[in-house]
């Protein structure tokens, strides 16, 4: 009976290890694919910019394209680090540390989010340069303001959707971690 039980547990463990390995490989492949796609898009975009520049595209368009590309790379790097941190929760830490990290991780506004303003500003600058024709002429200022109103409006919608997702998915986890930590430290 004991042998059977042991055999059974060995088989279960083997299956689990097999599944974990598959999961690890899947994550690795996904990360590599994402990185590949990102650098692929950046390379193609860079080539297009160079070709357009050689063919005599106006300089604001070329610089604008370059700035937008830079913003895209910064966004991609930021979100790669962000998702890496979410996936790699260390359960081997002392409970109070694990909870403190969870509270920090699920905070809606983090200090490092300030760095997101850099790619956002670059995006804005890039689009402004890219659409320079639209901002020339008699109604340049009005057009500039309208374009920025759209840009800020889209950002606001993005933030609001992000807030709703945070409120539904992350806030309950953060509240629970705060409650547990308070209880431990009381």
């Amino acid at each position: 009976m004991e042998t059977n039980n042991n055999n059974k547990s060995v088989v279960t463990l083997e299956t689990l290890i097999h599944n974990l390995r598959i999961e690890d490989n899947r994550n690795l492949t996904l990360t590599r694919t994402m990185q590949g796609v990102m650098w692929g898009v950046v390379t193609i975009y860079a080539i297009i910019l160079v070709v357009k520049s050689i063919m005599g595209a106006p300089w604001p368009e070329t610089i604008g394209g370059f700035v937008v590309m830079l913003a895209f790379v910064l966004f991609a790097l930021f979100f790669r680090n962000y998702s890496k941190e979410y996936k790699s929760v260390d359960y081997g830490l002392p409970t109070t540390q694990m909870l403190s990290k969870a509270i920090q991780r699920y905070q809606i506004f983090q200090r490092r989010s300030i760095f997101l303003l850099i790619p956002l500003a670059l995006e804005d600058l890039g689009l402004t340069l890219f659409m320079h024709d639209f901002f020339n002429g008699q109604h340049a200022i009005t057009n500039l303001l309208i374009a920025h109103a759209y840009f800020i409006g889209l950002l606001a919608i993005g933030f609001f959707v992000g807030y709703l997702i945070w409120k539904k998915r992350h806030k309950p986890l953060r509240d629970y971690a705060i409650k547990l930590l308070k209880e431990i430290q009381s």
Binding site: I17, G92, L93, P94, T95, Q97, L99, L173, L180, I184
Partner: protein, 171 residues
């Protein structure tokens, strides 16, 4: 030759499987939930294994993962979780501070009542009591939870006092 992750993992499970099983039993009344939690702990051991630098004893590390998993596991449905003490009757002595053997035996005999009271404990208190039932020292529990030793002593003393008071009131 360097051990592979898989070999290290298997060795850890072979040496600590019983500990993990007991922790799962403390939290879950039925075997299916125990199996789910056991599997979740194994997954977390696997995922955290690369970060284990040997700064703490392996048993402390395993208990940390087990307790931390139990907190997130119970977080999903902690209202339904029960601390099961039926398999550790002998360890129940650890929950009483007095040395009166007769009194201890009387209290042990009242197991069902004790279990009811344990089930009413908060999830953190259950985690602490599960470690006491495992026979760990205050120092070890402090290392697992991340509190100072005196702080753990005070907390556990408080829980024990509360349990004793409730048991006396119910007799």
């Amino acid at each position: 030759m360097k051990e592979s992750k898989e070999e290290k993992f298997k060795k850890i499970i072979a040496e600590n499987g019983d500990k993990i099983t007991r922790i799962c039993r403390y939290y879950n009344p039925n075997t299916e939930d125990q199996k789910d939690m056991y599997q979740e702990i194994l997954v977390n051991i696997w995922n955290s294994l690369d970060r284990f630098r040997g700064e703490s004893a392996i048993s402390t590390w395993i208990y940390r993962i087990a307790v931390n998993t139990s907190l997130s596991f119970t977080g999903k449905a902690f209202r339904f979780m029960k601390l099961q003490v039926s398999t550790d009757q002998q360890n129940l002595n650890m929950l009483f501070d007095d040395n009166d053997l007769e009194d201890k035996l009387r209290k042990e005999a009242n197991l069902e009542q004790l279990q009811n009271q344990l089930n009413l404990l908060s999830v953190i208190d259950k985690a602490l009591i599960s470690l006491v039932l495992e026979g760990l020292t205050m120092r070890e529990i402090a290392d697992i939870i991340g509190l100072t030793e005196p702080n753990v002593k005070v907390k556990i003393h408080r829980i024990k006092e509360e349990l004793a008071r409730k048991l006396l009131n119910n007799q």
